[in-house]
Amino acid sequence: DQQVKQNSPSLSVQEGRISILNCDYTNSMFDYFLWYKKYPAEGPTFLISISSIKDKNEDGRFTVFLNKSAKHLSLHIVPSQPGDSAVYFCAACGNEKLTFGTGTRLTIIP
């Protein structure tokens, strides 16, 4: 039951360039979407979120875009920094619980 999918298990980006992480979902009942960043041996850290009634939310270097008709969201990080290297999880909220994607490992190349 893969209601939330991140089809790219890994992504490498040059420092200073834009990182774009993608996420697709199937359940139209999800009403809120979140991105979490995770380092090894740590818990997921909340990064940015977006309500289903919006199509864009920006916070500093991070922007999340939501395309409801395509059931697709993306996280843009610009400019990418070495400290951004981590696993990024997309999560969708429905009935107060989070359904996570499988994660994308982002590596920023200095």
């Binding site: 818990g43 850290t45 989070l98």
Partner: protein, 114 residues
């Protein structure tokens, strides 16, 4: 900055033994959760807890699992008779209240069942 804490960081137990994983959520939060992540897989919802009772649970959360908030600060997950497949990272999370969605996670407890 307030944070969710979990103890122990690593628990090793033998199959069939009971384990209790402990969490201290953020103090003014009202909703509490347990998730788990089996190595190499995604983070999976186990259970949510609000107003001293379970509000939702997944198919994973069977009769071997229970949760409790024994006092005003701790939130525990008990596994009565551990199985090998219970080996995973267990994350506790808390949420401030209605109308917000950002759950804050603890660092996790690595449970190893041998």
């Amino acid at each position: 900055e307030p944070e969710v804490t979990q103890t122990p960081s690593h628990q090793v137990t033998q199959m069939g033994q009971e384990v209790i994983l402990r969490c201290v959520p953020i103090s003014n939060h009202l909703y509490f959760y347990w998730y788990r992540q089996i190595l190499g897989q995604k983070v999976e919802f186990l259970v949510s807890f609000y107003n001293n009772e379970i509000s939702e649970k997944s198919e994973i959360f069977d009769d071997q699992f229970s949760v409790e908030r024994p006092d005003g600060s701790n939130f525990t997950l008990k596994i009565r008779s551990t199985k090998l497949e219970d080996s995973a990272m267990y994350f506790c999370a808390s949420l401030r209240g209605v109308g917000v969605y950002e759950q804050y996670f603890g660092p996790g407890t690595r449970l190893t069942v041998t």
